[in-house]
Amino acid sequence: ACGKGSSSSKEDTLVFGRGGDSTSLDPSRVTEGETFKVTVNLFETLLNFGEQDTTIQPGLAKEWNTDDGLTYTFNLEEGVKFHDGTDFNADAVVANFERWANGDADKFPYYNSMFGGFKGDEGHVIESVTADGEYTVIIKLKRPQAPFLKNIAMSMFAIASPTAFEKGDDQFERNPVGTGPFEFVEWKANESITIQKFDGYWQKGLPKLNKVVFRSIPDNSARLNALIAGEIDLADGINPSDAEKIEGDDKLQLIKRPSMNVGYLGLTVTRPPFDKKEVRQALNHAIDKETIINSFFEGQANAAKNPMPPSISGYNDDIEPYEYNPEKAKELLAKAGYPDGFEMELWAMPVPRPYMPDGAKVAEVIQSNLADIGIKAKIVSYEWGTYLDKASKGEADAFMLGWTGDNGDADNFLYVLLDEDNIGSNNYTYFKNTKMHDLFIEAQTEVDEDKRVELYKKAQVIIHDEAPWVPLAHSTPLLAAKKGLTGFLPHPTGSDLLSNVEFK
Amino acid sequence: MNNRNRVLTVNDLQTTFFTDSGEIPAVDHIDFHLHDGEILGIVGESGCGKSVTSLSIMGLIPSPPGKIVGGEILYDSLNLTRLSEKEMRKIRGNEIAMIFQEPMTSLNPLFTIGNQMIEAILIHEKGWSKKKAEERAIEILKLVGLPRADGLMKEYPHQLSGGMRQRVMIAMALVCNPKILIADEPTTALDVTIQAQILKLMKELNVRLGTAILLITHDLGVVAETCERVIVMYAGQIIEEAPTKLIFENPQHPYTKGLIQSVPDMRFKKDRLHSIPGNVPKPGSIKSGCRFAARCEFAFDRCLHENPELYSTADVHQTRCFLYDEERVTVDEHKAIIES
């Protein structure tokens, strides 16, 4: 397969530079974004998200319906083939679901968290998955799950070729076989992953590219350099500070990824003085989000007032944000019994993330903001693994973190990040509120979208008042590409489908 | 003796080291000559400039800091100080060869004896085949009395004893039949029994091959046994020159006298050794007057201010001491008297 592209004169190979390598090419086995970036092009899911949002669109299932939110019927595309020649049909879908449901949390972590466990588990949502003829699949649930369709559309629940995965899971994740527009060619660890056009792809005329190479360049500046030098065509993870320059470069174009994230400063409510609501509110008033956004997101972000981005349904836009007002902050501190401030640790993220391109620097601004109201903050940083581990144990006073949505559902932000059920995992602030908890549980099984929105809006009011976070920003992650590149539509989840991309 | 050819003549040679701590005139205006086929000895205490003299002749003064700043060295009629490095290379090893004090370190430890011998031959015998050079090397190793010459060719220096190494050094110096062999303290590092072997060999070779030898040593015994003529050096200067017999029978310079007397003689027991007080000065440390004045029991005023020349006291005997300037003094006095 190698050397195939070198002769053709038309540019049809895309080199996509990104920050890290994938850990696996079996999307169902990992939780990490770099894997999905590749697999979204190799595999397809029953349902798709919209091109640049998280609305539900047909995928391998061209139609679907449900009456009660418990039984879903999917009608599949016909004539679809896996890369290895296996036919795609209802049996294949069932085989995939069987595979997941018979696994364990270690093997299929996402399945576990999205569908509440595995076969036989108490919390397992899926009752059964059955084929009804060649091209119809029926999924029965034990109880309604509001974001069920969104879950089905997530890239980890991609339908893989049963012939391939039956050879063994470990073998499969190195030699992925799906129905996607591209098929797998080669993986050079930490260097590059090459995929090429799947000639038997069912959607005619796609993909437009012949070959895609995903190249890992860990350092943001180095990646941009490689783009400028023409070694790569598309670069992920562009520093906001470079945006201006890229826009000024007539050989390059800046591409903005729709934002579906939030970056925040978490306040561990179990650690004094953050057990006092006033203190938390004071911090909300003290931090100058505008400067942070101007300086370190270079304007490529919106100030956040809620723990979820506005693009997601359920966002409460009526909430009045805490204004930047050091005086008010001081008052609140005084009220809480800290007229002279106090000393605290401020944990700064050691790694750049889409929601926080430069945690350490933002921390420095926050530090100086806090100094203005008399709080002495010491910036502390651990390397990432330790950081998460320690923060999840509630060892931080205040820590910076963020979240990118997986499926565009409010539940995926609010419940995951702030509910008491998730203390010890993703609720790092240890915030607990019974009223809010009840709202969340209700929303999870509510199938009526309007009612759900109401529930989440109520929850946001509580969160705003209790202020376990200082929501900072919803950033617009930046990408940059060579001028002639078209058809690239970055997806808010970070998994970009490349079938429409071509060079002009 | 005088009718013999001079193969080497050193005229007014001056070699100075320009160091951080000042100029060191290690060899300070020396004149001497070497006859065809003779063995000339140079004696003197450590640091008096013996090695620098010999290295000057070879053009091997480490430079910087050393430099020949004056005088000439005539090989036949060729002035060696004027030659380019390339021309000098043709002389070295071919016309004038040299062996050094330390047989232990003078051979390159990482090459076989054969390799080093053959190299010495091929440098000067351009057209020779390796085979021919090898044969020559073996021949010459046998000449210096080394047993199993064939085997030695493949051995490394460290496998040889000190005496054998010095023989190899001599052999290597002789491969191109040089006219002159300079031997800088060739036996100092050896035991007496081995020293005797080497000195005997050198005398034999001198007779058989007619090579003139400049033998540098600090051992008066070696001089007495080996050399025809002796030069005594002190602090960079020649202070006395004479045939060996004369030096020992009638040493003239107070230093030479003291030196001869201060050596304990194995043949009989002296009650007490003569000792010359003070230390051997470094060249250049005494700026004015006779270099030996400070240690000399006969020193008088003039010695402290003026450096004596070499005065010929007999046809073949020269001494750098005012005590032997009487003639001149008288001549000068005569002149003075006549003029007045």
Binding site: - | E45, S46, S161, G162, G163, M164, D191, V192, T193, I194, Q195, A196, Q197, L199, K200, H218, D219, L220, G221, V222, V223, A224, E225, T226, T244, K245, F248, G258, L259, I260, S262, V263, P264, D265, M266, R267, K269, K270, R272, L273, H274, S275, I276, P277, N279, V280
Partner: protein, 337 residues
């Protein structure tokens, strides 16, 4: 000169193990000193000569127990040194001192001369500070140096001066015996004479006993009352120095004496040039160790190790030529020499 032995050495041996391999297996021995017996009388000088590597320095160090002997007894002043504890030995070293060959290497380059000289006194806890300083000054003058030299460092002295310092250090504790290991061989001839004279003067003034190690036969003759000749770790001949130089018995001694160049062009001497090199002490020849080079080698020499036998009063030699059995042969040999 009294004839009371101050030092008595019996069957002294030092074998250095030759180690090899990962676990340091001993695969052989360097017989550096092999069965020495001799004595030194009070007030006399015993010279030890021999070619390099024959074990002279090792002998010197064994006497002071700077090396532990493999075997043998050293008796000093009635005390058996070889059985003392380390601490007792340390204290006894007051009475036996050493002068080294390389005067520069044996002086700590970072200490002043004053400190170097004072150190033996401090170590042995004699005298208080003021007296120590006084004694340093006194001994500096004894060896021909000056008081102000005490503040200087070794590198500021010439070789001869350094050796004087080495001698002064040895004298500081008023020792009875001084072992001088080639104290003049690093010095120039004219300086050598100064140091030899100094040593002789001091011997008289302080009633010292010397063991004088050297390879220069002239120097040894000059300074010694008795001389021992060593070859490959063994004494081959020992005698009053007159005796030894005038009537050497051992073929090695003779060869050695004949090899020394004499500073007299008129002197005609018998030339015995022995061939070959000294064998390695790690692999000494069997029987008489000299037989490989000996012009008078006999069959028995390769097999039987000759013992030191007294031939005349105080003159012992280890050579089969002088065995009574072969008495007749000797006479013949003597004739041919």
């Amino acid at each position: 000169m009294s004839t009371k032995p101050l030092l008595k050495v019996e069957n002294l041996k030092k074998y250095f193990p030759l180690k090899k391999g990962l676990f340091g297996r001993t695969v052989g021995f360097v017989k550096a000193v092999d069965d020495l017996s001799f004595h030194v009388n009070e007030g006399e000088t015993l010279g030890i000569v021999g070619e390099s590597g024959c074990g002279k320095s090792t002998t010197g160090r064994l006497l002071m127990r700077l090396l532990e002997p493999t075997e043998g007894v050293v008796e000093f002043d009635g005390k058996e040194l070889t059985s003392l504890t380390q601490e007792e030995m340390r204290i006894t070293r007051r009475d036996i001192q050493m002068v080294f060959q390389d005067p520069y290497a044996s002086l700590n380059p970072r200490h002043t001369i004053g400190k170097i000289l004072e150190e033996p006194l401090i170590v042995h806890g004699v005298l208080d500070q003021i007296e120590r300083k006084k004694k340093v000054k006194e001994f500096l003058e004894v060896v021909g140096l000056n008081e102000y030299h005490a503040k200087r460092y070794p590198h500021q002295f010439s070789g001869g001066q350094r050796q004087r310092i080495g001698i002064a250090r040895a004298l500081m504790t008023n020792p009875k015996l001084i072992i001088a290991d080639e104290p003049v061989s690093a010095l120039d001839v004219s300086i050598q004479a100064q140091v030899l004279n100094l040593m002789q003067d001091l011997q008289k003034d302080f009633n010292l006993t010397y063991i004088f190690i050297a390879h220069d036969l002239g120097v040894v003759r000059h300074i010694s009352d008795r001389v021992a000749v060593m070859y490959l770790g063994k004494i081959v001949e020992i005698a009053e120095s007159e005796q030894l130089y005038e009537r050497p018995l051992h073929p090695y001694t003779r060869a050695l004496l004949s090899a020394v160049p004499v500073p007299d062009p008129d002197f005609q001497k018998e030339q015995i040039i022995i061939e070959g090199d000294i064998p390695s002490p790690a692999d000494p020849p069997t029987g008489c160790t000299f037989h490989t080079r000996c012009p008078f080698k006999m069959d028995s020499c390769t097999k039987v190790t000759p013992q030191l036998n007294e031939q005349s009063l105080g003159h012992s030699v280890a050579c089969h030529l002088y065995d009574s059995k072969v008495d007749n042969d000797i006479k013949q040999m003597e004739g041919s020499l």
